[in-house]
């Protein structure tokens, strides 16, 4: 274990920015913290970096408490949302900064900077004014600067947030590859903060979903998507089909539109369960869980078609289908829900309130 956070809390005036936050990072792991803006993600990074002091709880590295270790001795690098490149230093001087602070010799610094710039594919950029870099170049300089001093932990604060969508997709793959093999060829231990679930899914070994300073769930991307433990997490991942469910037996639940059968893997029997229906759960043919619906809306999304349907009773549901012959708007049809794509979620509070608060 490397980084360990134990019941960390930080209060600003009256607002709890981070509350009872506990987390452990494995060596070489990339962990993404996912949450809406204002959920305390940046505060958490500042706490870990040592730029702010927690009001309660401990931060430790390999068992050593970091409370008395100032930011510049922690050996963590923090990469900021809009990079915070030093505007009065050129690319080389920016990347060299951390090495200079370590008191390395000139020749050694030059070698390292060269190697790191090569790693981010910016050879020949040494003398460039950082104010003239494009968004993608600036991002890679910032990454090079953060990794040149070989930090024990890399903290990334929305590193793609300032870029437009196309560039973002492109850099996402680069970033993923770079974090898997850092300049030393090893996997970089990384804590990554973002509000974008695509980013988190693409980069993370594990994802932690945050809300109002609290950690709700930590899991691998696959596990998180298949079995979110709360409606908030599900909605944040774009899963919106919820219905109330009352247990009839271990694997059968009563819902507004009839009895629904589950498989063993999808039910951990929460106290007041909500049934989450994944958007890919619906089949046009099958036997289990038939559901008579009327198509309310239909929209074409390229590789899939999204239908909004109204069951005989209960809320509207949204399903994605691969493009095929599908019923038109206004038509009735029968859909079959795949029990593998159904899961039970603990209904912590009114789901519509949660929906509003996302």
């Amino acid at each position: 274990m490397t980084l360990h956070l134990a019941s960390l809390s930080k209060i600003y005036l009256t607002q709890r920015a981070v509350e009872a936050f506990s987390l452990t990072l494995a060596p070489g792991e990339t962990l993404c913290l996912l949450g809406p803006s204002g959920c305390g993600k940046s505060t958490l990074l500042n706490l870990i970096a040592g730029l702010e002091t927690p009001d309660a709880g401990t931060i430790s590295w390999e068992g050593q408490d970091l409370a008395r270790v100032p930011a510049h001795r922690r050996g963590f690098s923090l990469m900021f949302q809009d990079y915070a490149l030093f505007p009065h230093r050129n690319v080389f001087e920016n990347v060299a900064f951390g090495l200079q602070m370590q008191g390395q010799a000139r020749a050694e610094i030059a070698t390292t900077v060269g190697r790191v710039l090569q790693w981010v594919k910016l050879m020949g950029f040494e003398g460039r004014d950082v104010n003239t870099l494009s968004g993608g170049e600036a991002q890679r300089v910032a990454l090079a600067r953060a990794l040149a001093p070989r930090p024990r932990l890399l903290l990334l604060d929305e590193p793609l947030g300032a870029l437009d969508r196309v560039l973002r997709e492109e850099l996402l793959d680069d970033l993923r590859a770079l974090l898997r093999t850092n300049p030393d060829g090893a996997r970089q231990t990384t804590l990554y903060v973002t509000h974008d679930q695509q980013e988190a899914f693409a980069l993370a070994d594990r994802i932690g979903v945050m809300r109002a300073g609290r950690l709700l769930q930590v899991a691998t991307p696959e596990e998180l998507y298949a079995h979110p433990t709360s409606p908030f997490v599900a909605r944040f991942l774009g899963l919106t089909n919820f219905v109330e469910a009352t247990p009839l037996s271990a694997l059968a639940y009563q819902t507004p539109f009839g009895v629904i059968q589950l498989t063993a893997s999808s039910s951990s029997a929460p106290r007041s369960p909500l049934l989450l229906i994944h958007p890919d759960a619906a089949r046009l043919a099958g036997q289990l869980n038939p559901l008579t619906v009327r198509v309310v809306a239909r929209s074409f999304r390229g590789s899939l078609v999204r239908l909004t349907v109204q069951p005989v009773a209960g809320p509207e549901l949204v399903f994605d289908f691969s493009p095929q012959t599908l019923p038109n708007v206004g038509e009735q049809c029968v859909l079959y829900l795949d029990p593998e794509r159904l899961t039970l979620v603990e209904n912590e509070s009114d789901p519509f309130n949660i929906a509003n608060s996302i």
Binding site: L51, G98, L155
Partner: protein
């Protein structure tokens, strides 16, 4: 990217500063003849009242033959005068920076109760007329000032024990008091917009606090500090009232020497030579300043960071010390002045509160300094100030309008430089120019004063109007027009309200400038038409408690008149 704040804080509006670049492309440029037509009145004014007097000074200096010049230089010890001018300005600037920089830091980074009020209070000295500052320091340090009064009553002395006036420390003290806010605002505002994440990035890269400051913050801050320092230096270098009144006869700077040569020895030619030297020096300083402000526009990603609370006892102590110290420096002299103007001292009697000095202003005594009751000086000053205000806006509005609407060319660049130059020209030089250029100047002085004051007020008015005019979005006017507003209604309902702040700020500053103008006025003023600062100066120079008291009473009135304008400006300026 435009890195300037959208609204200039008031005192910087006074400085010569590079403007915010070309007009927005959305503007339809004025047709050339219209632009020239609108620029013409201002241009004629500057030619007659600025360029021509400067030319006259130049001509006058040429008539002096070389041998006589060398002789007078030896007798007036010109080298020492120039040397002292530089020395006192350097020393004053250093002390101002030393005290101002910690204040700028606290102002830029921390949130504290009463922050806006503190900022406003520290801005007050800068807009005070020099004569008020001189009088205020007199009430602190002078033989009849609080320090000596306190010591006399404490030690039972008959004579004031300390001679604090007529010293370099009095000069430096007054200069610091005067210019502290320049450092606080120029550096503080820049510092506030310097992204604190740069420093944080340095810290996570292994730099300790000092290294982060040394390698990141300081290099980025340096141009702002340098430009603040140069501005302070310029003001200290051309300082007149403070040197004349607090330095006394043994401390001569170029500025006071021009005045002495012109008014006491009637040697206009030598005064002209000194003026040219003064002009050369100030041009050099302004050139350096322009170069630096150009540097300030390097594409820094400026970012207004949230202010931090003072949440640690150590930062709390540091901040209280810095903020309190600066507040004391900025407030004490003015408070001392206000209180001293209401205190009567009689031999062997306790201090008593009195309004006698104020009452005396309305009496017309036979043996008085002036031929009329002193309060007429208030009327004179207000009349001149109103005339200046009218003239400055009559010339400034069309000028600013034309400059804002025309595409920048070599001519507009030259015009703007010409327009701003009087700000960088020393006051005494401006006054001397009038004396030399207009033979009848002495006789028609009351009529010339508004023109003299407008020289300084006009650039300030234009400078305040320009950003507002350039910022007027044509889309708003079009929207109003489409909604049925006539051009007149558009002007009244859209343009004017949007410009109201700029007009108010420019007007208040122009008014305050005219009320407090001393250096240039001193050369033209006549005994039967004293303005407030001239009357205060005359009273201060006379012996006797009553004269001293009247000087203080008039100073307080002048202070309050200026303060009204400042409050109007500060009310909704950015914190």
């Amino acid at each position: 990217m435009d890195v300037r704040p959208s609204s200039q804080p008031p005192p910087p509006a006074l400085f010569p500063k590079e403007n915010g670049g070309a007009p927005s492309p959305a503007f339809r440029p004025l047709r050339v003849p219209t632009a020239y037509f609108l620029l013409l009145p201002g241009f004629c004014f500057l030619c007659v009242f600025y360029l021509w007097p400067l030319f006259a000074i130049f001509k006058a200096s040429l008539t002096l033959d070389l041998l006589a010049l060398i002789e007078t230089m030896r007798t007036t010890s010109l080298g020492r005068v120039v040397g002292f001018t530089f020395w006192q300005a350097t020393l004053s600037t250093l002390v101002t920076l030393l005290i101002g920089l910690p204040g700028a830091y606290v102002l830029a980074r921390y949130r504290f109760p009463g922050r806006a009020l503190w900022r406003a209070l520290t801005g007050v000295p800068f807009v005070m007329p020099t004569i008020v500052v001189a009088a205020a320091f007199n009430t602190l340090l002078g033989p009849r000032g609080w320090i000596n009064l306190g010591l006399m009553s404490w030690l039972q002395l008959a004579e004031p024990p300390l001679n604090l006036l007529n010293s370099l420390s009095a000069i430096v003290g007054a200069h610091v008091f005067y210019n502290l806010t320049l450092v606080l605002r120029v550096v503080g505002d820049y510092w506030a917009r310097l992204d604190p994440r740069l420093e944080n990035a340095a810290r996570t890269l292994g730099a300790n606090r000092w290294q982060a400051f040394q390698h990141i913050t300081w290099p980025l801050l340096r141009p702002a500090v340098a430009s603040a320092a140069l501005l302070v230096f310029l003001y200290d270098f051309t300082s007149f009232g403070v040197i004349l009144l607090l330095g006394g006869p043994q401390f001569a700077t170029l500025e006071t020497e021009i005045y002495r040569q012109a008014l006491h020895f009637f040697d206009l030619r030598l005064a002209a030579i000194l003026s040219l030297i003064q002009l050369a020096c100030t041009l050099l300083i302004i050139g350096g300043y322009a170069r630096l402000t150009a540097h300030l526009t390097t594409p820094l990603k400026l970012h207004r960071a949230p202010l931090r609370p003072l949440d640690h006892w150590r930062t709390r102590w540091m901040a209280s010390l810095v903020l309190g110290g600066i507040l004391i420096i900025c407030v004490t002299p003015l408070l001392a002045l206000a209180m001293r103007s209401m205190i009567q001292i009689e031999a062997d009697a306790p201090l008593s509160i009195t309004f006698a000095y104020y009452r005396e202003l309305f009496l017309n005594r036979r043996d008085a300094l002036f031929y009329a009751p002193p309060f007429t000086a208030i009327g004179n000053s207000l009349m001149v100030a109103l005339a200046t205000l009218g003239l400055a806006f009559a010339l400034g509005l069309p000028t600013a309008w034309a400059l804002a609407h025309s595409t920048s060319s070599r001519f507009t660049a030259f015009y703007e430089t010409l327009l701003m130059s009087p700000l960088g020209t020393s006051a005494v030089t401006l006054g001397l120019g009038f004396l030399v250029a207009f033979p009848a100047a002495w006789r028609i002085a009351p009529w010339l004063l508004p023109f003299l004051h407008t020289l300084v007020a006009l650039p300030v008015v234009v400078r305040n109007l320009l950003p507002g005019l350039r910022g007027l979005r044509p889309a708003l006017r079009r929207a109003a027009t489409v909604l049925g507003a006539s051009p007149v209604q558009v002007f009244w309902l859209i343009d004017l309200p949007l410009l109201a702040r700029a007009i108010l700020t420019g007007g208040a500053l122009a008014f305050a400038i005219s009320l407090g103008e001393f250096g240039a006025t001193a050369l033209l003023a006549r005994p039967e038409f004293p303005t407030l600062p001239i009357a205060i100066y005359r009273f201060l120079a006379q012996p006797g408690a009553l004269n001293y008291g009247q000087a203080l009473a008039l100073s307080v009135i002048l202070m309050l008149l200026c303060a009204v304008g400042i409050v109007a400006i500060e009310r909704d300026s950015q914190p």
